[in-house]
Amino acid sequence: MKKEKFLYGLFLFAAFIAVISILLIFLFVGIRGFPIISKVGLLNFIFGMDWTPTEGRFGAFPLIVGSLLVTLGALVIGGPLGVSVAIFLAEIAPDSMRRIVRPAVELLAGIPSVVYGFFGIVVIVPIIRKLVGGSGFGFLTGSVVLAVMILPTITTLSEDAIRAVPKKYTVGSLGLGATKWQTIRHVVLPVAAQGIISAIILGIGRAIGETMAVLMVLGNAPIIPTSLSDPMTTMTSVIALDMSYASGDHQVALFALGLILFLFSTSLVAIVRIYQMRGKVK
């Protein structure tokens, strides 16, 4: 009996490591980052437009907006594309195509972000440069690369959601004389909508957290882009770039950015949870 109790405790501890880690991350990153908030003021930090850390100016707004903008850009491109592929896989694809497309998506998911960034630099940047001018490093390039990176997340989860739609709905619809597409559009998608939206929210989370690829193709200018060819930056890029040499207040500010990122991603998880629970009650 004692042994069982001990084992229970042991396994409980193992399971709790995940929870402990989260708390530790919050503590360590938060404690190291907080001093800058009290020094500069929360509003100044979040809404300040001037990010010149070497002069002691820590207005992080362009960075925060940058993360959001490039995520939005990635969603505009990758969202519809990802859901389309999901529908394709779940409803339209013949087995032969499925055997090709699904592994392809899984492979895309496994490619390291540096490789995406590298491919972005050598292939996508010159193309975008010809298309919209500028240096090729900027908003559009970042959005394109990021779109490809979040596509597998969106596709895989959306496909699950679509497949979860009970067969009797589709059969019923087709039985009433609807075409394949009509069935998809008016029956399958609405039922799967909740799952698809969750997939997209998780895609957002992935995009905001992405570091290497965006760092390599965005141009790292701490401004809010006004055109597709403008260089820009994100919170993640700034942390990665500056961390190797930042000291003092600068380093504290970077940890503060890390805290903001942590809160962002945690909120997204919470949002998905709440959203899914609401759906279940229905």
Partner: protein, 272 residues
Amino acid sequence: MRRDWLPILILWVSAFAVIAFLLALIIYIAIKGIPILSLKFLFTFPRGIEARGGIFPTIMATFYTTILAGIFVTPVAVGGAVFLTEYAEEGWLIRIIRFGADILASVPSIVFGLFGLALFVYAFGLGYSMLAGGLTLSLMILPIVMRATEEAIMAIPQSYREASYGLGATKWQTIKNVVLPTASPRIVTGIILGIGRAFGETAALIFTAGMAINFPYFPSDPGRTMTCHLYLLATEGISTDIAFGTAFLLLIFILAFNLLARRFGEFSGGRR
């Protein structure tokens, strides 16, 4: 039927677009990367101003950190999964743990890098090391492996357990001798997937394993993984051919991991 053709076409085009992009990426990197691949490339050190030569220490650093991550994550993930599936009762405890795991899975890699730096490198005093890198990576892949292990365990029919209890075994004996061995192929698949994920990591390692190009012999040694090396080459703009070689090697490894996980998965009869 006739009105349908446009949306259906769009769906087909989407699928082809994705395949096309993947092929473009792989083929481009392969074309530029294959010429570089040679025994010399794989087994010698980078030399000189332009980091010519090989990438041997980076290959070793990559394996060192990911294997360490695998070692650290396995007991925690399996232990945690066992708890969630076998010991715990449905309730707030399980919900908290799952919530924690989900949050952990969503944390950006750079935040893991900051955390690893603050905790393992500074607080634990490990310095830039394979150990610090491996520990950080293990936390990153914990949710993946734990979830895979959970699914593996849950897939085991209750009848197996009941048969074991019927023979007089305790809970732990059942888990140890029936559940885990039966689930192990899929658990291993999960570990392989987790290691595959750790393989491609960069941001978390720059600040925990360091960027020094030495050969890691001990866990306390710093090292530069292939991914970090590629990052350096790409952003310094030097030795683009070596960069392609490194990128291609990474792709090959990822492909191998994918296939390995798949082979294992088929062997044990699972879907994913």
